[in-house]
Each structure stands twice: as structure tokens, then as C-alpha cells.
């Protein structure tokens, strides 16, 4: 029996052990680390029958039972399908990266981050409650932030990582809000319950809001227009990272979410338009912008955006054919895009550049890489007999049968696919064939571990294309059923006969080749469009980020100007406002208690405290002020004693004693007390402090009379002996009933001691 939870947990354990492994195995950690995806993959293949035909494997751990939140996982067809992609490509990229980073000091860090990402991604697709899903969703975001910014000495890498984190993080927040609303309507965060509540959700007045928030999350993660700009900038990541995150896994998380929730939310008119319009725009714009790129990785990134748009569009159509086409296209795209990214990395690694204008004729030096590139590119272009061809046929079939605007959707598809064909041709022909240029490094074939990945992925595209019914259809069968349970069994074949789909395919390939051959005019326009596009959302992101920082700076300058008196002034004014708001209703309704029958010793102590306070404020010497402050403190402890609170009095006495000692120690370090403040400042301060004192006194007097009925006193009085074995209620509250608060308080104490330590050690001019 397969346990999703242990799979995820062991992934994180491998991640944690990776740096140590690297040290103990003398740079051969990849051999051990590769066992994780390999074993998981074998386990998954072994359980194939169980997943596709048997009941869904579910597992639940108690997490926050008081909120009804569990850590639940489920392995159904869709999760199985994604888990296969994640582990297969993860395994190949891991081996690829071990050669790519050979000898790099940062390899332990890379393994740690890479393995945590893999485990988080598995957690995301295996999650069975919205909250679990969200946690892993954010974990992929955080680990991808570190992976994109892996070359952390480059400013562009840091900026790209931050951009990806902020854009997807913002989407993540929207997603959480959407999840909570969804959970409230369905009455549970468990995915099966949410699927059952489909009708209630779709009729709820909150449905449009939920859909909007969820789409915000999915669209930012899966780089849909207008949030697409982070993906090309994330190409600052090392190539193995892009091959894994930006082709097959993280950017597909948004698509996964849409597919996962489509049985609950999908099929409405709103769903249809809200997904297919942005999807179609992203599909076209991505392919169009990719066309003008000269950097191999950025070219792939923009074509990935286009593919993600296609997937969103297909899920928006949400017909049987569209879902089938989406899943098979997702699979094909992961295969060829993963391979092409790795190939781009190999070219960069061995020749020193990935600028397409500086490359050419590499097939002589890198024959194996070139062969894999040709296969992958053929699949990308959708030519028979590769799996890409089958996927494109299905795509056209789904688009022709789109419920709304089928001609428009089909035309957009043909345009985007023609551009993709041209891109595939450009990638392979301009890199590996044609005129050879001199490159920064003398190119040679990549090491074996860097050839395995692309070769296997591209080769599988060919084999699955030749045996579609045996491999491809079996692969996505479970996933299709999870998304559309009442669908007929899936069958694929390479040859459909002479249909209109075949005509479209031929047209696409012809147009693509023409574009590649004579597409210069489009290139010029693409260049212009690229400038425009970078002005749009990316510009908005920049100004939003800069505006936020400027606002934060202005606020900090205004509130924290470095003068202790001003801090105090602001804090006290704020306190006055709060207390005033609290005292106002009491003033209207409350009555002041009668001021008679005050015993002499209490009155005398009160007068003593008041005298001490006046002395503190008016004294010209610090020493006098501190002594007078001591009088105030001891007076207050006396009052505590009069009112039967020996604990408080005892503590207050000790605190007063120690405070005076500390003051004495600080005193010699302070400058002489000078008359620096003007008369008006002093009047202002006197007014403010009198007002505050008056407000506090009023509140205490009024509050003593008008407090709300409280059962705390009886509760603690009754339960402190039987539950906590103590008669001293104050202490019982501190160490038992409210001990969590006490932990917080002593933590604050420790932090303030650290603060004193740091301040004293950084005293200017003294200790060096």
C-alpha cells in the first residue's frame, strides 16, 4: 500500500540530509538523492492498477482539529499523473544538475532547495484539503524563490526571484481568501466534500468572487497575461532550475489547481469566459513575444507562457475533448520543454553562450544533444509520428467543437501553433545547423549525465507517439476520469484519416515554416510589441513596488525620526485617543464612586505618590528625579499591599529596588541635564501628560463601578485548587492557566536583554 504522506515526508528528509550527504560521499550525493524520485516513480508505476481502477487512496492526519483542519492526502488519477511527471523529470534534472554544477561549492545548497521543491510539489498535487494544498503551494513559492535567486551575487537574479515571489505570493494570498470562502460555503475544506457541494457553490452569490480569487492565484502561478512577466525574468535561474520549475512543475501548479477544482467550479458560463479569454490572449501573446527572442532560455520561457495559455483555454472550454487535449498536451509539453531547457543549458554550458545569433552548426560537436533537440523540437512543432502530433490533433478537435466562438478559438490556435512551429525550427536550426560561429568556449559534447535527460524525454515523445494507445492513453486515463468522472474511455491513435483536423495541422506546419523562412517583418513588429509589453504589467509592477517602498520610508521617517521624545509623544497621543474613546461612553452613563471614608494611611500614601511624581517632573537633577521615581514606585506597592495583593506588592518592591540600581549604573554615562526644551514644548508636554493621567484615573474610577459581569474571578477561585493544586491564584494563573502567555513574556525579557547587550557593545568610542 502506498502512503502519500510518507512519500512527501521522506522527500523533505532527503532534502535536509542532502548537504551532509554531499560532504560524506565526496560530491556523489546525487547517486543517493536520485534514489528518492526513482523509488517514488517505481512505487507509482507498481501501483498503477490500484490507482486507475481501485478506490482513491486517502490518508488523513489530525493537525488543527479545533478548526476542522487536517493534513490530508489523496492519490487519485490526477494526482498520480502529476506525481509521475514531477518524479520523472525531477530524477532526470537532478542527474543533469549534478553534472551541470560539477565542482561548484554551492551544490549542497542546490540539492537542499531542489529536493525541498520536489517534495513541496508532490505535496501540492497529493493534498486532499484546501488548507494542505495552500501550505504546499506556498512552499513551492518559497523554495522557487531561493532557486531562481540561486546566483545570489547577481542583482538581476535577486530581482527576478523577488519578482516571482511577490507576484505569485500576491496570488497566493488571493487564493487563500478564495479557499476560505469556498470552505465556508461547502462547510469543509476537504476536497471530496467540496466536489459534492458543486451545485451549492455555483449558485452561491459569492461564486464570482471565489472564482476571481482562485483565478488570481492560478494565473499568477501559471504566468497568464497580465501576470506573465515574471516568468522570463525568472530565467535568471540556473538552467536545471528552469528545466524543472519553469517547464514541467511549478508553472503547471496553476493549471493543476484549475483542473482539480473544475468539477466543483467549472462548466458555468462565467468559468468559460474567465478562463478562455485570458487563456487565448496568453496563448497568442506568448508565442508572438517568443518569436522576437534571441536568448534560448527566454525564447523557451515565452513559448511556455503560450503553452500555459493553451492549457487555460482548454480547461475553460471544459468539454470532454478539451480536458483530454489539455492533459495530453500538458504531458507532451512537459516532455519536450523539459528536454529543450536542458539542451539550452548544455549548449550554454559547453559553448559559453545561449544567444541564438552567436550559435550555429553545433551538430558536429554535439551530435547526441542535437539529436535529442531535433526530436524534442519535432514534438513541439507537432509533427508525426511524435506524441506532439497526437496532442495537436486533439487540440484542434477540441477547439473546433468549442461551445462558444469555435471559429475564433480555432483561428487563434492555428496562429499560435504556427508561431510555435517557427519557434521550434528556429531553436534547432539556428543552434545546431547552418553557419558555425566562434563561441566564447570551444564547444564539445556535454557529459553523459547531461545527455541522458534530454535523450530520454525526447525519446519518450517518439515512443509514446508510435504506441499511443498502449502508453499515452493509459497514462492520462486516470487523470481524465478524476477531472470528468463520467467520461468514456480514452483512446488515441496516430492516424485519424483525412479530416479537417489534418488540414489544419498541415496548414499550421506550412505557415510555421513560412514564418521561420520569411518572418523577418514579424520580427521587427515583435520587437516593438516587446517594448510595449514590457511597458505594461512589468511597469505597473515596478511602480507599485517602488511606491510601496517610498510610502514605507515616508511613514518610517514621519513616525520614527530618531528622537526618543517624539516616539514617546506619538505613543502617548495615540494612547490618549484610545483611552478617550473608551472613556467617552462611560462618562455619559457611568457614575463616579463616592469619595468618602478613605482611611488616613491610604490618603497619605496617595499624597506621597503625587508629590513624588511632581518632583520627578520638575527636578533639575537626574539623581533627584530617580529617587523621587522610587518614592512613586514604593508608594504604589504600598497601595497593592493595602488592597490585599501581597504578590503584586512583593514583585513591585523588588522591581523598584532593581530599577534604582540600574539607574545608578546608567547615571554616570548620561550627559548633564540641560534646559533644552522651550517653554511652549514644556507646556505641551505638561498638558498631554495631565490629560493622560486624568483619563486613566477617570477610567479606573468609572470602570470600577461599571465593569461587565465576569466569571473569571469565580472560575479561578473555584478551579485553582482542584485543577492546578495551588491556593495562590496569581501564581497558578502565571504558571498553569496562562502559562503560554508567561512563555511569551519571558521571551520578551530575553529579547530586551539581548537589546541591552547589543546596545552596550556598540556604544561608540568605548569598547572597540
Amino acid at each position: 500500500m502506498i502512503s502519500p504522506f510518507s512519500i512527501i515526508l521522506s522527500g523533505f528528509l532527503f532534502a535536509a540530509a542532502a548537504p551532509l550527504l554531499q560532504r560524506f560521499t565526496r560530491d556523489r550525493a546525487h547517486v543517493i538523492l536520485a534514489l528518492y524520485p526513482l523509488l517514488t516513480l517505481l512505487l507509482l508505476i507498481n501501483e498503477y492498477g490500484l490507482v486507475v481502477d481501485g478506490p482513491v487512496i486517502r490518508e488523513s492526519l489530525s493537525w488543527v482539529p479545533s478548526l476542522g483542519i487536517g493534513l490530508s492526502f489523496a492519490l487519485d488519477g490526477l494526482a498520480y499523473f502529476f506525481a509521475l511527471i514531477i518524479t520523472t523529470i525531477g530524477l532526470l534534472v537532478l542527474l543533469y544538475a549534478s553534472a551541470y554544477f560539477k565542482g561548484d561549492q554551492r551544490l549542497p545548497r542546490f540539492y537542499l532547495l531542489f529536493m525541498s521543491f520536489m517534495a513541496s510539489m508532490l505535496g501540492l498535487v497529493l493534498a486532499d484539503t484546501l488548507i494542505t494544498l495552500f501550505v504546499f503551494w506556498e512552499l513551492t513559492g518559497v523554495s522557487s524563490y531561493f532557486l531562481i535567486g540561486f546566483n545570489n551575487q547577481r542583482a538581476a537574479a535577486r530581482a527576478g526571484a523577488l519578482q516571482a515571489l511577490l507576484v505569485t505570493g500576491l496570488g497566493g494570498l488571493a487564493l487563500l481568501a478564495g479557499f476560505i470562502m469556498l470552505g465556508n460555503i461547502a462547510g469543509s475544506y476537504d476536497l471530496p466534500r467540496i466536489m459534492e457541494s458543486s451545485a451549492i457553490i455555483q449558485q452561491s452569490p459569492l461564486y464570482p468572487a471565489i472564482l476571481f480569487l482562485l483565478l488570481l492565484g492560478a494565473f499568477t502561478k501559471s504566468a497568464q497575461v497580465p501576470f506573465h512577466f515574471w516568468l522570463p525574468n525568472a530565467m535568471e535561474a540556473p538552467t536545471p532550475v528552469s528545466a524543472y520549475l519553469h517547464s514541467a512543475t511549478m508553472v503547471k501548479a496553476g493549471i493543476y489547481l484549475l483542473a482539480r477544482l473544475s468539477p466543483a467550479l467549472g462548466g458555468t458560463e462565467l468559468w468559460h469566459y474567465a478562463l478562455s479569454i485570458p487563456g487565448a490572449i496568453t496563448m497568442l501573446l506568448g508565442a508572438f513575444l517568443a518569436f522576437g527572442q534571441t536568448d534560448l532560455k527566454r525564447l523557451l520561457a515565452y513559448s511556455t507562457i503560450s503553452a500555459l495559455g493553451t492549457l487555460t483555454l482548454l480547461l475553460g472550454l471544459y468539454t470532454d475533448d478539451a480536458v483530454k487535449a489539455a492533459l495530453i498536451f500538458l504531458f507532451v509539453h512537459s516532455l519536450y520543454k523539459g528536454a529543450l531547457f536542458m539542451i539550452a543549458g548544455s549548449v550554454d554550458h559547453e559553448s559559453g553562450t545561449r544567444d541564438i545569433r552567436a550559435l550555429g552548426g553545433l551538430y558536429l560537436q554535439m551530435p547526441a544533444t542535437a539529436a535529442a533537440a531535433v526530436l524534442a523540437a519535432l514534438s513541439m512543432a507537432g509533427l508525426p509520428p511524435l506524441l506532439g502530433f497526437i496532442s495537436k490533433e486533439l487540440l484542434y478537435e477540441a477547439k473546433l467543437q468549442a461551445p462558444v466562438a469555435a471559429p475564433f478559438v480555432t483561428a487563434a490556435g492555428v496562429c499560435a501553433n504556427a508561431l510555435i512551429v517557427a519557434l521550434a525550427a528556429k531553436f534547432v536550426l539556428m543552434t545546431f545547423f547552418g553557419q558555425a560561429h566562434s563561441t566564447p568556449k570551444q564547444p564539445h559534447e556535454a557529459p553523459i549525465l547531461m545527455r541522458i535527460g534530454p535523450a530520454l524525454l525526447a525519446g519518450f515523445g517518439l515512443i509514446a507517439g508510435l504506441l499511443p494507445d498502449q502508453l499515452a492513453s493509459r497514462l492520462i486515463e486516470g487523470a481524465v476520469q478524476a477531472v470528468r468522472p463520467e467520461i468514456a474511455p480514452v483512446h488515441f491513435s496516430l492516424w485519424h484519416g483525412f479530416t479537417d483536423v489534418l488540414i489544419l495541422s498541415t496548414l499550421t506546419v506550412g505557415a510555421g515554416i513560412a514564418l521561420f523562412r520569411w518572418g523577418g517583418w514579424l520580427l521587427v513588429r515583435g520587437e516593438r510589441m516587446r517594448v510595449l509589453a514590457s511597458l505594461g504589467p512589468a511597469r505597473a509592477y515596478d511602480s507599485l513596488l517602488r511606491g510601496t517602498l517610498r510610502l514605507a520610508n515616508a511613514l518610517t521617517d514621519a513616525i520614527q525620526d530618531g528622537t526618543l521624545r517624539h516616539y514617546l509623544l506619538l505613543a502617548l497621543i495615540f494612547l490618549c485617543v484610545l483611552l478617550g474613546a473608551a472613556a467617552a461612553p462611560l462618562l455619559r452613563h457611568g457614575t463616579l464612586p463616592a469619595m468618602s471614608g478613605i482611611p488616613f494611611h491610604e490618603a497619605a500614601t496617595a499624597v506621597l505618590i503625587a508629590l513624588g511624581a511632581v518632583t520627578v517632573a520638575s527636578s533639575k537633577s537626574r539623581f533627584t528625579a530617580i529617587t523621587a521615581l522610587g518614592v512613586v514606585g514604593f508608594g504604589v506597592s504600598l497601595i497593592f499591599l493595602f488592597y490585599g495583593a501581597p504578590d503584586l506588592a512583593l514583585t513591585q518592591f523588588s522591581i523598584e529596588t532593581l530599577s534604582i540600581v540600574l539607574f545608578v549604573l546608567v547615571l554616570p554615562r548620561l550627559p548633564k541635564l540641560l534646559d533644552t526644551s522651550s517653554l511652549s514644548t514644556r507646556i505641551r508636554d505638561a498638558l498631554l501628560s495631565s490629560l493622560l493621567g486624568l483619563l486613566v484615573a477617570l477610567l479606573v474610577l468609572l470602570g470600577a463601578d461599571a465593569h461587565a459581569p465576569s466569571h473569571l474571578q469565580e472560575f479561578f477561585g473555584e478551579y485553582s485548587v482542584p485543577f492546578a493544586h495551588g491556593r495562590n491564584v496569581v501564581n497558578v494563573i502565571l504558571v498553569d492557566f496562562r502559562s503560554l502567555d508567561t512563555i511569551g513574556e519571558i521571551t520578551v525579557l530575553l529579547v530586551s536583554a539581548l537589546g541591552v547587550y547589543a546596545l552596550m557593545r556598540s556604544w561608540p568610542g568605548e569598547r572597540q
Binding site: L662, N728, L734, A753, V756, Y757
Partner: protein, 135 residues
């Protein structure tokens, strides 16, 4: 303060006050006292000692650095709450020996918690005092 009278007095007083601070800690559950006051009393005694004999000598008397003491205190307090977890109770639930335990009566994890508070307070005050005294 190099006065012989003060030095002799402090030497005699220090163990007594420390003992008293422990007394405060232990009785705190039923009578006025507790870890917080106990820690304050102990730190007052040690501060007096430091005034008389200097920080260096006090540090060597303590053996541990005050901040380590404070951190240990926080760790003890947190750890005292962990005991409840394997029993299936929420973090920080008090666990008690039976009521009729000879000599001490019922004792439980809250006493350990209070001891943690004691150490944390003592460590924090001493950290601040020593830092201020050492130029």
C-alpha cells in the same frame, strides 16, 4: 566598595538571600512568591555581590554566562510543557504526582515551569547589570 564590613556582610548574606529566593519559588504555588519574585530576589543578591567584589569575581562565582542562564530558563519553561504531549494532552498542561506524595505533597510540571521563569528572570537581570557595570 572595598569596605571590609560590607564585604563580610555580603558574603554571609548571599547564601541566605539565595536560599530565600528558592523558598519564594517553591512556596509560590500556595502563598505569595513564585519564580518571578524569586528570580528578582536572587538577582538583587547577586547584584549586591557584584557591587562589592566586582563583575569579574561574580562571573567566576556564577560559572555560567548570565544570558546562557536566561536562555536555559526559557528552554526549561518550554520543555516543562512538552511532557504533556506524549500523554495526549495539549502542550503546557500541568502533570502532577498523586496528592499524597510523602514530604512534598503534590508536585508537578508547573513547578518546573516556575523554575524556568526563575532562571530566565535571574539571567536577564544579571545580563543587563553586568553589561552596565563593565565599562
Amino acid at each position: 566598595m572595598k569596605s571590609l564590613i560590607v564585604q563580610t556582610t555580603i558574603r554571609a548574606l548571599l547564601p541566605l538571600v539565595l536560599l530565600f529566593s528558592i523558598f519564594l519559588l517553591v512556596r509560590g504555588h500556595n502563598d505569595p512568591g513564585g519564580g518571578f519574585v524569586g528570580g528578582l530576589a536572587a538577582s538583587a543578591a547577586i547584584t549586591l555581590y557584584a557591587f562589592t567584589f566586582g563583575v569579574e569575581q561574580t562571573r567566576s562565582l556564577l560559572h555560567v554566562r548570565p544570558f546562557i542562564l536566561a536562555a536555559t530558563g526559557l528552554a526549561i519553561a518550554t520543555l516543562s510543557g512538552v511532557f504533556a504531549v506524549p500523554v495526549g494532552l495539549p502542550f503546557l498542561t500541568g502533570l502532577w504526582t498523586p496528592e499524597n506524595t510523602p514530604v512534598v505533597g503534590a508536585i508537578g510540571t508547573p513547578l518546573l515551569f516556575d523554575a524556568g521563569v526563575y532562571c530566565a528572570v535571574l539571567g536577564v537581570v544579571l545580563t543587563i547589570v553586568f553589561e552596565l557595570m563593565e565599562e
